[in-house]
Structures are given as structure tokens and as C-alpha cells.
């Protein structure tokens, strides 16, 4: 476990209590600085072997993307954020995508979704053989503060899905 959840939990509860007024007022800058998540010094590492041209890539963004016609938007009201993720098919079109994330300016991604989720570029690289394959499904998360169930439930489920999809490499684009 890379994050000490036993230490995080009480610190997080205190942070929520102290930050709620600022959060409701939209003063994110100060409360972000006080957010208690600390990553340990040891950094996980899986050696990269082989060539992109014979490997399968999956994409994940934290841009709050969802399919307008078939998926619920993320919760953008709660200070805890939303720990869920959405599956975005490789065949998605710009007009299919909604954005539910209260803490960045969506206007650039609304013009060109590739600035937060470069799916079209990856499809081109797959067609040219520069990467071996792109998985059929990709993923979006949104804004998350409560990382307890996120670390113990959501991310393990996410990992089992990308493994089942045969992903050799994960490319991450935060916002």
C-alpha cells in the first residue's frame, strides 16, 4: 500500500471540517495547499520492456469526461469529489462527451477533447503502426479528495479492467 490510509483518514476528516466554508465559497487555492495526502518517498516502478509498436496502450484522463447519452455526470458538488470512473469507448466522438468537473476551465477541451484526452492522436498512431494497439475502452475520472475508498476499491477495480483489456502501458492525462 503506497499511501498510509490510517494516517490519512483522521487528517482528511479534519481537513474537510476546516475547509468546508472555503470550499463552498470557491476558494480552492488555500484548501488545496492544506490537503493532507502525502506520497511516500519510495516510487513504484515497473520496468518498461519492448517497443511501443508491439504493445497495447490505454488512456486515462481526470478531466471528468462522461458519455452524455448513456452515463451520469460526476458529482461536482461534494467536497469529497467523486471516486467513480467512466468508460469511454475508442469510437467516441467529440459531441458524445460531456464534462463534469468543477475545478478547471472546460472551454479548451470543449473545442478539442484531445487536449485532455488525446484519443484521435492515439488512433492515428495505431493506424500508422507506431503503437501496436489501442484498447477498445479508455477511462475518465474526475475530481477526487476522499481517497480512502478510491484506493481500496475504485482503483483496484480500474486496474482489473485495464489488465483484462490487455493494456501493456497506461498513458495518464491529468487536468
Amino acid at each position: 500500500m503506497p499511501i498510509d490510509l490510517d494516517a490519512f483518514k483522521p487528517a482528511y476528516e479534519k481537513w474537510v471540517e476546516e475547509s468546508l466554508p472555503e470550499f463552498r465559497a470557491g476558494n480552492m487555492k488555500e484548501i488545496v495547499k492544506k490537503y493532507p495526502l502525502i506520497a511516500p518517498d519510495d516510487i513504484p516502478w515497473t520496468v518498461y520492456n519492448g517497443q511501443p509498436s508491439n504493445q497495447t496502450f490505454a488512456l486515462v484522463t481526470s478531466g471528468g469526461l462522461y458519455l452524455k447519452d448513456s452515463q451520469p455526470p460526476f458529482d461536482t458538488e461534494s467536497i469529497h469529489g467523486d471516486t467513480s470512473f467512466r468508460e469511454i469507448p475508442k469510437t467516441v466522438r467529440q459531441q458524445d462527451i460531456g464534462i463534469a468537473h468543477a475545478h478547471y476551465d472546460h472551454s479548451l477541451a470543449e473545442q478539442d477533447i484531445n487536449v485532455v484526452f488525446p484519443i484521435q492522436r492515439f488512433i492515428e498512431l495505431e493506424n500508422e503502426g507506431i503503437i501496436g494497439k489501442l484498447t477498445d475502452t479508455h477511462y475518465s475520472f474526475s475530481y477526487v479528495n476522499d481517497v480512502v475508498s478510491f484506493v481500496t476499491e475504485t482503483v483496484p477495480e480500474f486496474i482489473s479492467r485495464i489488465k483484462a483489456a490487455g493494456a501493456d502501458v497506461l498513458f495518464l492525462v491529468p487536468v
Binding site: 495526502l37 516510487i43 478539442d112 484531445n114 487536449v115 492515428e124 502501458v169 497506461l170 495518464l172 491529468p174
Partner: protein, 86 residues
């Protein structure tokens, strides 16, 4: 995202991420990352710059093959609405 990246890397899948905030990256310590000079919500620069988007991904594919130290961050030279270096 840094947390997801760390857990995926720990689960045996190599990862590479984009980033734009050295202070946040120092805090979350991603295994491999590309650092850009663009604002939140647009890690690949101005919308519609297909050539640059492609170039940044190719930079990342190269970095995947060359980075050998956990926590390596490579800074990219691209600037908002300015031509890319040759």
C-alpha cells in the same frame, strides 16, 4: 491522477503521465512524467494543434523507452501559441 499512476505501476503496468505543476508533482511523485508549460485543462497546448499533440505523445513514447530511474520528469520546450522548435 498521481495516486492512480502509482497504484497501476505497483500492479505491474508501466505508466507515463503528463503534468504542468512541478510542486504538485514533487508531492505525489509519479513514476514517469512529462512536464509541460501549459495551464490546467490543456496539457497539449492550444486546441486543434494536432502536430504538437502528436509530437508530445511521440516524446512520451521515447521517454518510456529511455527513462530508467523511478520519478524521472522530463521537461518539454513547447510554449502556448508559439511555434515548436525544429
Amino acid at each position: 491522477m498521481g495516486l492512480i499512476q502509482r497504484l497501476v505501476e505497483e500492479a505491474g503496468i508501466p505508466t507515463i503521465s503528463m503534468g504542468n505543476a512541478p510542486d504538485r508533482m514533487a508531492h505525489i511523485k509519479p513514476p514517469r512524467a512529462m512536464l509541460v508549460k501549459f495551464a490546467r485543462g490543456s496539457m497539449f497546448g492550444e486546441p486543434g494543434n494536432v502536430k504538437r499533440q502528436r509530437r508530445i505523445i511521440l516524446d512520451a513514447l521515447e521517454a518510456l523507452q529511455t527513462m530508467s530511474e523511478p520519478g524521472t520528469i522530463q521537461e518539454l520546450p513547447y510554449k502556448w501559441k508559439q511555434p515548436d522548435p525544429e
